[in-house]
Amino acid sequence: MEVVVSIALNAAFLVSVVALVALGLGVIYGLLGVINMAHGEFVALGAYAAFVVTSSGAPYWLALIVAPAVGMVAGMALQAGLISRLVQRPLDAILVTLGLSLVFQQVFQAVFGPAGLTVPNPAPGTLTILGATFPVFRVVVIVISAIVIVATILFLAKSEFGIVVRAILQNRDAASVNGVNSARYSLLAFGLGAAVAAIAGALIAPSTNVVPYMGATYLAPAFVAVILGGAGRPLGVLLGAAFMGGLEVALTSYIGPTTARALVLILAIIAIRLRPGGLLSEKKDRFA
């Protein structure tokens, strides 16, 4: 029993983190057709924001507002300044974000130095849940992630912004014929995606070591999760994240971490092959 509970709790934590990163990536990809290769750097940006907040003496919780605000501004600036010039060239936009990820890492290193930085645990202590020991702060992370994820999905489903976004997703040309100013929505979408990634960074920071290159580790699983879920389907992305994070935690103790990581990737490849349109799609659309 304890084993099952502990796997479930640990999986819930990792899935929350992967889902947050993937959700932002998925919103940007769905709307702009751009795989934001610098998305990991927005995660790092959020983590550094948390460091700046806590090291200035302010409470950690303030970082949960500061980080997404900084992320949103940075994301919008990136979209307005660079990505918007590449509207008809999504592939070039991917390449630009790839180059930017290198640039951002060096900027982080120049500003904060190469040494790892620490964000103190704001909620120390552990709980015992059905026999399993679990840190209080991890419960906090899971709850906050869930709130952010649900809010984002509801926002995409109910708000005017979300409705237009989904219209653009379904048919960009038709949407623009109907007078939708897709540039403004692209700007908002990029800002939203970056803000969610930055929250993820702020939530991760107290459980890890904040270094300039930390974003890269989160990009690959999130990237696979987005494709697994089917572009532009927030629920699918969530499922993709559950696949990547959940399987890894569940398998690690039994077949070893390395084999688990490789096996998860192999299973993901097979899943993408069998459901090219995403885990939630019908089995059709042979040409993605």
Binding site: Q109, N121, N209, A216, S253, G256
Partner: protein, 407 residues
């Protein structure tokens, strides 16, 4: 039809030309003398190359290593250089990448013609540099503790000196101390590569001999962000000791999460040093470390070294064994070259390097003539709440054991 004919002729022509073009230089090569070793000149400055990870994940280690190296070179130059000749340095980054290491090693050996190369962090960098430097007769002084000869690692060469500790030096003194003071059942959590796996083989031998037990063993890929499941496994195994040879950032992530989960087993790591402890003292507190150097060592050379280092690089900049070995390297090169009357011919001064010894910040060190690794002290310490590592036990003059290496 005509087109086809044309193309066929074309291919024949192309093939012929290509082969001729490629073969001619090969023939010419027979007449060219083999690559001459660098640094054989007898006057002018002595060039030393520094090669390590100055960008990428290992940057903090490479940067510390460089500063220590630079400090030694500055001190030697201020005191008159090597046999009256000034040292100049060439600093190169390998980004912890094998291909970049090969290119930069080629540059240092063939273009800059340095007298020796100092530096490198990981096994992949060391092995890559060793594919280039010895065949060009450029000595490599590697300053990181490593896995010795486990898994056919090839760090056994007349043009190679290992200044870091090999497994027997860090682990042999540690296991008996742990049996006396902590316990005898171990759970190993390492990064999945050659250093953790190699050193753990040595650990397993010693633990078995002393009647202890390895109760679990897991190796994680680089870039692991979550260790929660293995922390739970350590707890439920009831091990006395969590032995954690994790690398770089993953190590600190693990410490952080172990602290969050309030893990019970005592943490022991042969990778823990002042640089890591300094990054997150709260998470590192209480970890048992075993190294050739801690900043807390009390001797005159160390006091002078730390004062000079703080003066140049800031009062709160931590140093570790990798750095101090890089500080020792130019001093050893100086002593060896002066031992053979100032000759920079590597065939003369490299054999002399095992005849000299150095009393530096980590105590007395000397290069073992059998395997050209370093006889040095080992210190066991426990990380304090401020990130310093007071020494609990010291063993002087531990000889390096590199099975299969006899030069």
């Amino acid at each position: 039809m005509t087109g086809n004919m044309q193309r066929r002729d074309f291919i024949r022509l192309a093939g012929g030309l290509g082969a001729a073009a490629a073969l001619s230089p090969m023939l010419a090569a027979c007449a060219t003398p083999a690559a001459a070793g660098g640094g054989g000149s007898t006057d002018g400055p002595i060039k030393l190359g520094f090669l390590s990870a100055l960008t990428g994940l290992e940057t903090i280690l490479g940067a510390t290593q460089y500063q220590c190296f630079e400090l030694a070179v500055n001190q030697i130059n201020a005191a008159g250089g090597i046999a009256g000749r000034e040292i100049t340095t060439i600093k190169e980054d390998n980004a912890a990448d094998s291909k970049q290491t090969i290119d930069k090693s080629n540059k240092l050996a063939l273009s800059d013609k340095v007298t020796a190369v100092v530096g490198l962090i990981t096994s992949i960098e060391r092995e890559a540099a060793l594919t280039v430097l010895p065949k060009n007769k450029v000595p490599l002084l590697y300053t990181t503790y490593y896995e010795g000869s486990y898994f056919d690692a090839h760090a056994c060469d007349p043009y190679y000196v290992g200044l870091g500790q090999v497994p027997n030096q860090q682990i042999d003194p540690l296991v008996p101390w742990l049996s006396d003071n902590v316990g005898s059942s171990y759970y190993i959590v390492g990064s999945d590569y050659i250093w953790p796996r190699g050193t753990s083989i040595r650990l397993a031998e010693l633990v078995e001999d002393s009647g202890g037990k390895i109760v679990g063993e897991q190796y994680f890929p680089f870039g692991t962000t979550d260790f929660s499941q293995v922390i739970r496994d350590i707890d439920s195994s009831g091990a006395d000791i969590a032995w954690v040879p994790l690398a770089g950032t993953d190590f600190l992530t693990f410490l952080n999460q172990y602290h969050q989960f309030d893990g019970k087993a005592k943490l022991v790591s042969i990778g823990m040093d002042d640089v890591f402890a300094h990054e997150n003292p709260a998470a590192a507190e209480g970890v048992i470390a075993s190294q050739a150097y801690f900043m807390s060592l009390e001797n005159d050379a160390n006091a002078k070294f730390l004062k000079a280092y703080a003066n140049d690089y800031g009062a709160d900049a931590p140093v570790n064994a990798i750095g101090v070995a890089a500080y020792n390297a130019p001093w050893l090169i100086k002593a060896a070259i002066e031992e053979v009357d100032g000759s920079t011919d590597p065939d003369k001064w490299m054999p002399a390097i095992s005849k000299v010894s150095l009393d530096g910040p980590m105590g007395v060190v000397s290069v073992d003539p059998t395997n050209q690794n370093t006889t040095q002290a080992n210190y066991i310490g426990e990380v304090a709440s401020d990130g310093s590592i007071p020494v609990i036990e010291a063993v002087q003059n531990v000889t390096p054991d590199v099975p299969g290496c006899s030069l």
